[in-house]
């Protein structure tokens, strides 16, 4: 057969070819289908605001926590953003690189979620219930206090101190936690008591 195509033949076929492929691929829609200009949806819409202060340094910047769900309403609340509180006289909404990233501190992968116990010589932690943990602690304290509590010194003066158990208090817990801790520790006579004021 003669593969010499007539000019028209060729053009027709070629044209058809192009048309077929492009239409077939529905390419022409593409350009017009370009997404319209838009900005990201404002992510704080319909979140719950809670006033708090930054837990890091002692400037105590005011912060607003934005969460899905409301703790006060007894709902589970998931923190989605933290930002400086513009109404706060000290920081006026500003935050440092630590404060600005507080949300990811709260949600740090290394947050603790379960009580854990490491037995003497063990190379790993194992989970333990709160009850077991607290009973262990109470027992250990009672035994140590009864065994080592100093009621009077050589001179026979009542001194009522307990030196074989110590307590390091935090630097960022609330006054209220501090007060309850103080009461607990002092009432037992613990003198090895300190906080992070120096370091």
């Amino acid at each position: 057969m003669n593969i010499d195509l007539s000019r028209r033949g060729f053009l027709r076929l070629a044209g058809a070819g192009v048309a077929a492929t492009s239409l077939g691929a529905m390419g022409f829609g593409e350009a017009e289908a370009a997404e319209q200009a838009h900005v990201r949806a404002f992510k704080l819409a319909t979140t719950t605001e809670t006033r708090n202060t930054c837990p890091y340094c002692s400037v105590a910047c005011g912060i607003i926590m934005y969460s899905k769900g409301d703790v006060k309403a007894g709902e589970t609340a998931e923190l989605i953003h933290i930002e400086g509180d513009a109404d706060h006289p000290t920081n006026r909404g500003t935050l440092c690189p630590k404060g600005a990233a507080l949300k990811d501190f709260v949600k740090a992968p290394t947050r603790l979620t379960k009580p854990r116990y490491r037995a003497a010589g063990a190379s790993e932690f194992q989970d333990i219930t709160w009850d077991e943990a607290l009973d262990k602690i109470a027992r250990a304290m009672k035994d140590d206090r009864d065994a080592n509590f100093i009621q009077t010194n050589e001179a026979g003066v009542p001194v009522n101190r307990w030196t074989t158990t110590g307590f390091l208090a935090a630097s960022a817990t609330t006054n209220e936690t501090a007060w309850l801790t103080y009461k607990t520790v002092r009432s037992m006579g613990i003198v090895g008591f300190d906080n992070q004021a120096r370091v």
Partner: protein, 228 residues
């Protein structure tokens, strides 16, 4: 006996009544069409990035992201297939004194008055021009193309260099498209040419008209060669 200088060893006269001459073997033909197809796809996707009014062409490839991904890959395919072709064809595309005469009478060429032209070997100057033009532009395109291949070479090339590369790539692309048009056009305008790349053979008349030295040489080789 005389060493052929106007033909490839593979070229031969297949039949004598009427005369048909084998011009391209199957492998070269296949390879040529791979190159051709790649070039067409590159042209379509490239033009889409080249000019907003042609951006719709990305649709042929299923959108801008895929077109962006595919274009350089096809580029590599073209480069490889063309190089193979180059290795096979470069020798007979070296310039000869006849080319000068041919060029001097380019007017007759365009008018199709070949009787006024000198006898030619397997390729005329025009074909050689397309061959070398393609070669040069493909090299320029692959080099500049790799420089702006964001996905793999983004970090390796400084931004000022990439600016030059992207400009060069665009200019070379325009040029190669022009060469391509000329090539396609010539193939159709010169009747009886296309079959060389489809069936692989041409008629004796075609060979006699356009590449008589080539035909002469093949004829001679047939005569003095081993008898059938």
């Amino acid at each position: 006996m005389v060493r052929p200088v106007y033909s490839e060893p593979g070229d031969r006269i297949e039949s004598t009544r009427p005369v048909t001459v084998s011009r391209y073997r199957g492998f070269i033909r296949a390879n040529h069409w791979v190159t051709a197809l790649s070039l067409i796809l590159l042209l379509l996707s490239g033009l889409a990035f080249f000019h907003p009014s042609l951006y719709f062409l990305t649709g042929l490839f299923g959108g801008g992201q895929t077109a962006r991904w595919l274009h350089p890959i096809i580029g590599v395919v073209l480069f490889v297939s063309f190089m193979v072709m180059f290795i096979q064809l470069w020798r007979l595309n070296l310039p000869t004194p006849d080319d000068k005469a041919w060029l001097n009478q380019i007017g007759d060429v365009v008018k199709g008055n070949e009787e006024n032209l000198p006898e030619l070997g397997k390729y005329n100057a025009g074909q050689k021009f397309i061959f070398w033009g393609m070669t040069l532009l493909i090299v320029v395109l692959i080099v500049s193309g790799i420089m702006i291949w964001e996905q793999f070479f983004g970090e390796l090339v400084s931004i000022p260099t990439r600016r030059w590369a992207v400009l060069t790539h665009a200019l070379a692309a325009v040029a190669i498209i022009l060469v391509f048009i000329l090539h396609v056009y010539a193939a159709f305008w010169t009747r009886g040419t296309l079959r060389a790349m489809t069936r692989g053979t041409v008629t004796g008349g075609w060979a006699y008209r356009h590449h008589r030295k080539w035909l002469r040489e093949l004829a001679g080789r047939r005569q003095n060669g081993p008898a059938e």
